[in-house]
């Protein structure tokens, strides 16, 4: 009998980023679902209640910050933590972060290894690492 893999939602409007982050996490044994903007990310989070969300800050239709605020305000997802990636050249205001469940902010360009390390800090290592082949 194997433990259920932690589910991670990755949200980014850049297909390549979405692809590489997902691959890194899947290779480390996590289950990954993806969304390409804040609105889609919110719907996915409500529907799947992931263990963690990794989201970009600046995205079309709804920003990562707005999505995380809505998720914290929603009782169905208020406990879902998030890790934010941002390509903005400055730090995000703390008062804005306080209204969300964002626990960590990483700056772009990022290292997939660093993301994995932060994820493992938050969720613990996935119990059954599975190496998946990218397709």
């Amino acid at each position: 009998m194997t433990d259920k893999k932690p589910l991670i939602l990755v949200v980014d409007d850049e297909t390549h980023i979405l692809h590489v982050v997902s691959l890194k996490l899947r290779n480390a044994g996590y289950e990954v679902i993806t969304a390409e903007n804040g609105e889609e990310g919110f719907d996915q989070a409500v529907a799947n209640h992931p263990s963690l969300i990794i989201t970009d800050f600046q995205m079309p239709f709804m920003s990562g910050l707005e999505m995380c605020q809505r998720l914290k305000d929603d009782p169905r997802t208020t406990d879902v933590r998030a890790l934010m990636l941002t390509a903005r050249g400055f730090s995000l205001p703390q008062e804005a972060l306080d209204k969300t469940n964002i626990v960590n902010v990483l700056s772009k360009p990022f290292s997939p290894k660093e993301i994995l390390a932060r994820v493992q800090e938050l969720l613990g290592k996935a119990t059954a690492p599975v190496v998946r082949r990218a397709s």
Partner: protein
């Protein structure tokens, strides 16, 4: 006959009458040789009266002549500046003439002093008037609004800019209380507070941001208010004594455009930062995956290499955009013209943008006829302009949409037109006139995709500034846009 002659005749008659009376009262008879005593007496009285009258006339004539001379002399002294004109009148009039002359001298000296003083005052008045006009001209030449109020909070000075910004009549406002002149209560309060709060030297000058709505648009003003405290020593003395300022100088500068530019620059830095970091993120992440051996087969590695190449190109294009705009604007761009075949240039551009279009499931199609059209242009620049138009079309077209390129030759106008048409979100009509402005971004598009607001500006500069072509756009919100550039055919240059 003149009055003097009548008077002399009168005097002669009176003398004759008196002599006759005297002779008739005398008991002594006249001399016998004279005959009738009555006739003799009357005759003597007549002769004596005649002599008296004649004498009177002679004396009066002389006196009148002397008086006329004196009068003429006084008139001359009065009318002329001659001061050494001497007169020695007879008939005992010399002292009078001297007194008159001395009086006139004194009067003349006083008059000269007054005239001199008047001239001095006139000069000072002219200087003051010239200085006032000069100060007014200087004040009016200042683009910023300037108001000067006095110790009674009355408007002492203002320029045209102030009247325009604060909407008051300059001609009827001087020396009127400032709260009657200005409708802006906040500004009036600021001026009054400054005058009353000026005793502290540290508070003599301060800057306040003020917002005013003009012609339906909000403007941001930098208001400098300074208390007038005389010279520094006076100011400090006034400060020590706790007296109010003698007045307040208010300078109001419109900083709306500066704020907008600062905001645009800030947005630009933020956008450029985002635009540079995004492809860099992909490159760094995929390189790291390759180095760490997380691409397990050749196909995955090839895919990673392609992504790295595509993102490197994207980064390179962005940097080229920024640098080329800067070069074209500063006039240091090197244009290398050559015969360029537009169909093959467009094909190359499409090949480069294909991965980006495929990633968004957008069909990228060229419907140009396979004809060899040539223009004499800088190939790299036209290529970059085409890439920018394709990139925008892909960026603002929803998934599953279509981007089409086409070339049309207008033989009559001797130009070739290249169009990039999409089935994207379109552009609101109010944004169309601003599309090619530097840093301008369609508000509704900001949420759809990232951008720097430089791409279209560069396209326009390349086509119009560098190549003398034209750039046009047609768009319908919700249906799509068509960007067209025209370049002169090669034999036309």
């Amino acid at each position: 006959m003149s009055f003097g002659k009548w008077l002399s005749l009168g005097v002669g008659l009176v003398a004759a009458v008196l002599t006759a009376v005297f002779l008739f009262l005398d008991p002594t008879p006249p001399l016998p040789i004279w005959g009738n005593g009555v006739s003799i007496r009357i005759g003597i009285a007549g002769v004596f009266g005649g002599l008296i009258g004649l004498a009177h006339w002679l004396v009066m004539s002389r006196f009148n002549a002397e008086l006329r001379r004196l009068t003429c002399h006084v008139e001359v002294l009065t009318k002329s500046d001659v001061s050494d004109l001497t007169l020695e009148p007879g008939m005992g009039l010399a002292p009078l003439a001297l007194a008159v002359e001395q009086g006139m001298q004194h009067l003349r000296q006083r008059t000269q002093k007054l005239v001199s003083k008047r001239r001095e005052l006139e000069i000072q008045l002219r200087i003051a008037e010239a200085e006032r006009r000069h100060a007014e001209a200087v004040l009016n030449s200042i683009a910023d609004a300037v108001l000067v109020t006095d110790a009674f909070n009355e408007l002492a000075l203002a320029n045209k800019a102030a009247a325009s910004v604060l909407n008051f009549d300059l001609g009827f406002s001087r020396r009127r209380p400032i709260d009657e002149v200005l409708d802006d209560r906040a500004l009036v309060k600021l001026i009054k507070d400054t005058r009353e709060g000026a005793p502290s030297v540290a508070n003599l000058r301060r800057h306040v941001e003020h917002r005013l709505t003009r012609n339906g648009r909000e403007h941001v003003y930098d208001v400098t208010v300074a208390g007038i405290g005389g010279d520094a020593a006076d100011s400090e003395a006034a400060a020590g004594d706790g007296h109010d300022a003698l007045g307040v100088v208010t300078v109001i500068r419109d900083v709306t455009r500066e704020r907008e530019i600062a905001e645009m620059k800030s947005d630009f830095v933020s956008s450029v930062s985002h635009e540079l970091r995004t492809p860099l993120s992909s490159i760094k992440a995929y390189v790291e995956m390759l180095v760490d051996g997380e691409a397990h087969d050749e196909q995955t590695r090839a895919e990673f290499y392609n992504i790295i190449q595509s993102e490197t190109n994207r980064l390179s294009r962005l940097i080229d955009n920024i640098l080329n705009i800067s070069r074209i604007e500063s006039g240091v761009v090197r244009v290398q013209r050559e015969q360029v075949s537009l169909p093959s240039l467009i094909r190359e551009a499409i090949d480069v943008m294909l991965p980006q279009a495929r990633a968004r499931n957008i069909e990228l199609k060229d419907v140009s006829a396979p004809v060899f059209f040539q223009v004499f242009a800088d190939k790299d620049m036209v290529y970059q302009a085409t890439l920018n138009l394709l990139g925008n079309a892909i960026k603002y077209t929803p998934k599953g949409g279509r981007v089409t390129t086409s070339i049309v030759v207008d033989e009559a106008a001797r130009v070739v037109r290249v169009s990039v048409q999409d089935t994207g979100v379109g552009i609101p009509p109010e944004d169309v006139p601003h599309l090619f402005e530097k840093f301008y971004r369609v508000h509704q598009h900001k949420k759809l995709a990232q951008g720097t607001g430089l791409g279209l500006n560069l396209v326009k500069q390349i086509i119009e500034t560098v190549h003398g072509g034209t750039m046009t756009v047609a768009s319908e919100p919700g249906k799509g846009s068509s960007f067209t550039y025209s370049l002169p055919l090669a034999d036309n240059i």
